[in-house]
């Protein structure tokens, strides 16, 4: 903590954060609150009349057999599957990459730049590229899988009513690896080398050092990164939106943000779209709070 003695009792900080507060109130608090309000109305499209319908949107989403709720449950499950798989994959590959880059091998700067590069590519471009690579006739994924004997015939991977979420998960992993590698690498670099040296002297093997030294020390960084990425990937939209044509919703690979978007803007149930987003938000909020609590608790105990 810094010392604030010289700087206290002053109106300066309020002036400094004023622009942010104004911007936030207008463009974050207001939309956020009104979005929640809209979820209790039957507003159909932008500019339509909004009548208060109470919990109707929510009961329809949770209420059993109607199509809306079937879609909702499906999308909900898919969203969990999507988040878990994408982040799991990112974490594993990111960890390996970070550990390797931390070895300080010659040429690691080049490897680092290359591994980070996908991060700078606009998400739309990468989705297009993957679409092209997944092309059922001339895509290179089909080509290599067939060459290597994994598939007999070319397969249409994405953008179809019955296509699965797995090809999209691969894209998600690819997309997120740079960020995770970056964060984990900097975490690793902040561990003092002396600790490793000491462990080596004590005769700990590579695996032991990883298990009893690296992992515990990396825990705070990992948790922060995990929470951030979970928030992002839970809400991710671009990949699915571009990989699936508007008119043929990727039914089996539909996640909550996609469903919300379809309900709100394609099927003209704006209120229901807002309701889906609200539920999605509440779930994420609870998840983050529980995790943050546990983390904070752990930190306190260890001190």
């Amino acid at each position: 903590m810094h010392s604030y003695t010289a700087l206290r009792k002053n109106s300066t900080p309020y002036l400094l954060i004023l622009p942010t507060v104004i911007t936030m109130i207008i463009f974050s608090v207001y939309p956020f609150v009104s979005g929640i309000l809209y979820s209790f109305t039957d507003i159909k499209f932008v500019g339509g009349t909004a009548t208060w319908v109470g919990l109707e949107n929510f009961t329809r989403l949770f209420g059993g057999k109607v199509n809306t709720s079937i879609n909702f449950y499906k999308a909900f499950q898919k969203n969990i599957l999507w988040t878990v798989c994408v982040i799991g994959g990112q974490l594993i590959i990111g960890y390996i990459a970070a550990l390797l880059l931390n070895e300080k091998l010659p040429g690691q700067a080049i490897f680092r730049t290359l591994i980070m590069l996908p991060w700078a590519i606009p998400s739309v471009v990468m989705a297009l590229t993957w679409q092209w690579m997944y092309d059922p006739f001339f895509g290179l994924i089909n080509y290599y899988l067939k060459e290597l004997g994994f598939i007999k015939e070319y397969i249409t991977w994405v953008g179809q009513p019955n296509s699965t979420i797995w090809p999209l998960v691969i894209i998600g992993i690819w997309r997120g690896v740079p960020f995770l590698t970056l964060m984990l690498l900097s975490g690793l670099q902040s561990i003092p080398d002396e600790l490793y040296e000491a462990a080596k002297v004590d005769g700990a093997s590579v695996i032991q050092r990883f298990r009893y030294l690296t992992l515990p020390l990396m825990r705070p960084v990992t948790m922060v990164v995990l929470m951030l990425t979970t928030m992002w990937w839970w809400n991710s939209f671009d990949i699915q939106r571009v990989m699936t044509p508007v008119l043929s919703l990727g039914y089996n690979s539909m996640t909550l943000p996609i469903l919300a978007w379809h309900e709100a803007f394609q099927w003209k149930h704006l209120g229901r779209g807002a309701a889906i987003s609200v539920i999605s938000l509440v779930v994420m909020f609870v998840f983050i709070i529980i995790n943050a609590r546990r983390e904070l608790g752990d930190v306190k105990e260890s001190r």
Partner: protein, 286 residues
């Protein structure tokens, strides 16, 4: 005996390093092969693009795809490039300005509501963009800013703030407060202290935040798609999807277009990489 041990250790070390390199190369290939494929397709002669035989070097390298994109009136590359530049540029400037002020305040002052403010900035991350977008859209409609660049710029500025402030705040934290205090004791005003001491020291952090924010805005797709409909106002990510067309996909020009879109972000990224890595990480992990 001793000699033997040493060579064995050496062999093991070489093996270890080889193993590391192999793994590294596998991961690197996984990360960059799509990018290589974009570039290859962009420079390939159209008739070889749909070649059942995959090859990684263009059979007959050509700029045809680029000229096709640049000349196609439908693509409007120049116009949308300018649009993207205007929108991302202005919103990044605004974001950075507001960010520096707020981050400095949180880092240096203690004030009522500070914790709430800081936590709000972190928590806003988890609000689904769709939710913000829906009400934001209605709001922009009300104030007649939909279908205009100011509308998009305002939206971007607001969306980019929370993370940027959070990152920069942590960067400011690493700069010892004594420096300013010393300067102020020596008779400098606060403004002078900030101008001559803090800003130069924080420049790497500010640059990395700026680059990060610019990249996010440059690449943003969903809001740009929803808020701006006028063709001559569209930004690049939306324009490329529009160019994709209906039922037809010319991968050559498409990939050439992709290369054009990616260049600014990639070049910025490569040049700023070092600072970006430092700045981002201090931001998140502290």
């Amino acid at each position: 005996m001793k000699k033997n041990f040493l060579t064995r250790k050496k062999v093991l070390n070489v093996l270890r390093i080889t193993f590391c390199y192999i793994l590294l190369i596998i991961i690197t290939v996984f990360c960059i092969f799509p990018i290589a494929w974009i570039i290859k397709t962009a420079f390939e002669t159209p008739q070889f693009i749909r070649n059942p035989q995959i090859q990684w070097m263009p059979l007959e390298p050509t700029l045809e795809n680029f000229t096709e994109v640049l000349q196609n009136p439908r693509a409007m590359v120049g116009r949308s490039f300018l649009n993207s530049l205007i929108v991302a540029g202005i919103s990044t400037l605004l974001s950075t300005l507001i960010t520096v002020l707020a981050a400095y305040a949180i880092s240096r002052f203690n004030f009522i509501g500070k914790n709430f403010f800081a936590i709000y900035l972190l928590m806003i991350n988890m609000v689904p963009p769709t939710l913000i977008l829906i009400s934001m859209f209605i709001f922009l409609v009300k104030i007649k800013l939909v279908n205009s660049h100011p509308g998009l710029i305002i939206y971007y500025t607001a969306i980019g703030l929370p993370l940027a402030i959070w990152m920069l705040k942590s960067y400011f934290d690493t700069i010892p407060i004594d420096l300013e205090e010393q300067a102020m004791i020596d008779g400098a005003t606060r403004l002078q202290a900030i101008r001559y001491i803090i800003l130069p020291l924080a420049l790497p952090g500010i640059v990395s935040v700026t680059v990060y924010v610019f990249m996010t805005h440059w690449n943003e797709f969903m809001a740009a798609l929803t808020i701006v409909q006028k063709q001559e106002l569209r930004t690049l990510p939306v324009q490329i999807i529009n160019f994709l067309g209906f039922e037809r996909t010319d991968w050559g020009p498409m990939m050439a277009f992709s290369v054009l879109i990616s260049i600014p972000a990639v070049v910025l990224f490569v040049f700023a990489q070092k600072h970006l890595v430092g700045g981002l990480t201090t931001g998140y992990t502290k």
